[in-house]
């Protein structure tokens, strides 16, 4: 009895595995995303949004798994130029986002969302390798055990984002 039912269960598991829609196993991250969230906070402070449709609010959209969302959540308590930050988690539409952070795991599934913000003055931040080269504005990368970032100046210009020289000094600049 037990043996049969076990086989059956395992078989079902295999079927599920094969036919399941791809989605990511939630990342088990803590410090990494917290540090990235702190970077993003600094980016918001050193970027001037010339095109912001509502300059009275700072809306940061975060697309990713729970661990990333949890790391960004404390930013709600922070402010940028005395404006309280609002966090929108996994938005369906990017309409309100001033900045958008996408985790590497969530990027593939968020293609449409990412494309939808192009040309709307949104600061697009990612972490997957080549994110900036593919047209993202800022890419957080890892070097050794530390976090670095690259900025795509062409994207910044076309999105009418002016980036402070302080950031540019520390960044690896991608200009293509």
């Amino acid at each position: 009895m037990a043996v049969k039912s076990l086989r059956w269960k395992i078989f079902i598991l295999f079927l599920l595995a094969v036919f399941a829609a791809p989605c990511s196993v939630a990342a088990q991250v803590n410090l990494e995303y917290s540090v990235k969230a702190a970077f993003v906070l600094n980016f918001l402070r050193y970027v001037t949004f010339e095109n912001a449709n509502d300059p009275s609010r700072v809306i940061l959209c975060v697309v990713g798994e729970d661990e990333a969302l949890a790391a960004f959540a404390p930013l709600r308590e922070k402010s940028v130029n005395e404006l309280q930050i609002e966090i929108v988690e996994n938005p369906r539409h990017a309409g309100e986002c001033m900045a958008l952070f996408v985790t590497a795991a969530a990027e593939e599934g968020s293609r449409k969302l990412i494309e939808s913000v192009r040309g709307k003055g949104v600061l697009l931040i990612g972490e997957s390798p080549g994110f900036a080269a593919r047209g993202g504005c800022i890419e957080l990368t890892e070097e050794g055990k530390r976090i670095r970032f690259s900025i795509n100046l062409k994207t910044a210009r076309s999105e009418k984002l002016s980036i402070s020289s302080r950031l540019l000094q520390l960044a690896k600049v991608v200009d293509e």
Binding site: N30, P74, E77, K78, R146
Partner: protein, 682 residues
Amino acid sequence: MTTLYFRLCGPAALRLRALFFAAFLILLPARTAAETPEDTAALFDLSIEQLMSIEVYSVSKKDEPLAKASAAVFVLTAEDLRRSGALSVPEALRLVPGLHVAQLDNSTWSVSSRGFNGVFSNKLLVLVDGRSVYNPIFSGVYWNALDISLENIERIEVIRGPGGTLWGANAVNGVIDIITKHTAKTAGSYLAFGGGSEERAFAEARQGNVWEGGGFRAGIRAYHRDAAKLPPEIGIGDAYDETEGGSANFRLDSELSAGETLFFAGDLKRFKEDSLVRFEDSTAAAAFLPARRFGDHQEASLQGKYHRRMANGDELSLQAFYAWYERDDFTVRQEAQTYDLELQHSLQPVSGHTLSWGAGFRRVEDHFQDAAIVQSPDPRKSYDLFSGFVQDEVALRGNQLRLILGTKLEHHTFTGFEPQPNVRLIWNPDEGSSLWAAYSRAIRSPARYNDSLNIRAGSFEALPGRRLTTILLGDEQIDSEKLNAYEVGWRQRLSGELQLDLATFLFDYSDLESIRFESPRIEPPLNGSAPFLPARWVNGASAVSYGGELTLTWSPVSYWRLQGGYSALELEMEFQEGAGGIQDEGEQTVEQQLVLRSLLNLSESVEIDALLRFVDSISQPRVDDYAELDLRVGWRPYRQLELAVSGRNLLAESHREFGEPFFGPLGTLRQRAVYAVAKLRF
């Protein structure tokens, strides 16, 4: 597959084949996280330059953290805990390859690493945020009293093997460190409730708030568990071990300035721990009387920690805790308080060296009142532990090779000075591989029961036709148990998705606790005047054990993760002439175990998780091998709501996991259980 010599027979062997049919081989998400992100809130006040200097333990790079550890380490993350469906810490530890987790009755667990299991498994140190929950009276852990919400746990780090140099006495066969979440991660409200068969009802609530530079949370929880059944050879029907309990806890984090943090945490717990106990009395007509034990356990703890990370990378921490508990039933009535203070400092005096040193003081004060099983000629006692350690980590050949040298020196009231040195060497020839080797010495301090408690341990036919009660007598002459340990390990990333972790060990124990019988006596060390057979604790045994654990982690696709571990162990125990085991502790060892785990995301919101485990037999007291399966289906229709149904022990109606201890509750059968849970976050 056939190279795994499972000595399983009958149905278990069939199940084993079924298991291999599944061929989900295995894996282990071994990641160590040596750096605690205790001050994530502080990160938001750092400049970009400061952020760029922070070392991040990336979990996305599966091999990187592992490559740093020169010990057999396994980490359970918050996500692992959530998806295990487990309701308690010991239950969650079943996921850890190489740990033997056995539940004796509804409220009694035994957990061991690399052999020597027992209800008072005395060679495994357990800490909660650095606070020891190892009980110095019975030298074990009251697992049931470790009533922590799994939702509050950031991760559980499990080290198999000795950790005496850093952790001190009793970190002989392993260390389990439970790290709770920073309050920055528990902002908002959380409510969970559920119930089912066996786990009749459970509920918890938590509220958290964060502010600039700090956070607070408070939570309460309660549970009620149904009574289990007795094994047929002992009796029929109910084992009267239903249990219920409740607890409240809080944590406060505060950031004093950049890099300077303070946290306080505390809890209050109370639970009922009923069971049947074997109460033998040579004066009674029947040698064996199962007696109902109505247990009441209460405890409270308060801890605080100051941590400072200086701009040059030096770290300083100061920690203090107070803990109190009282346990009361007719077999034992005890109360104890612990005061503890610890200081740690790490610095880089010269390039290539990381020097850590620390000092600590602990005082335990206990009080016993006479009870039927445990009595003390010395009802109040206090004992002190002074400790200091120093360790240097040297980077050689440009970080490819690292050497760790250190020692702990402790002074305990019962035994005097005890050094616990270690030497570790780790070689990372490339990114994905590491080889490590270690020698270490660890000790297990005598417990209060070894020193000065009298325990009525059952009766023997000492004279023809005459049964005499054996009474275990504490002896102040008893010394520490010692271990010299040799370990070698290898970790390799075989491909992007497959990782291997192998750890092997040779342990050489001496001065192990054992007992020596003396001539029957009449003068009463316990109430009453019946003749009894005294047995005294002596350091009369030695043992050699060797074995290893192999773990593999495999993520064939992004939405499916498999993990598994196989462990094998041989243990030979030898007694000096005249000495023996009250129960042959060395025999209470599970020689082989296999754990297979599957975590599958069926869609964005549906998860299906399975845990299969095979546990070898225990020879004395006899427990058969068994195979069991736990399944969980979780569904998150909204971000705020999680619903899950878990099935536990699904393969058989019931099984036994552990034999009876020499005193304490009767073992009961673990039964199939199904329960549902709803969790709300808002």
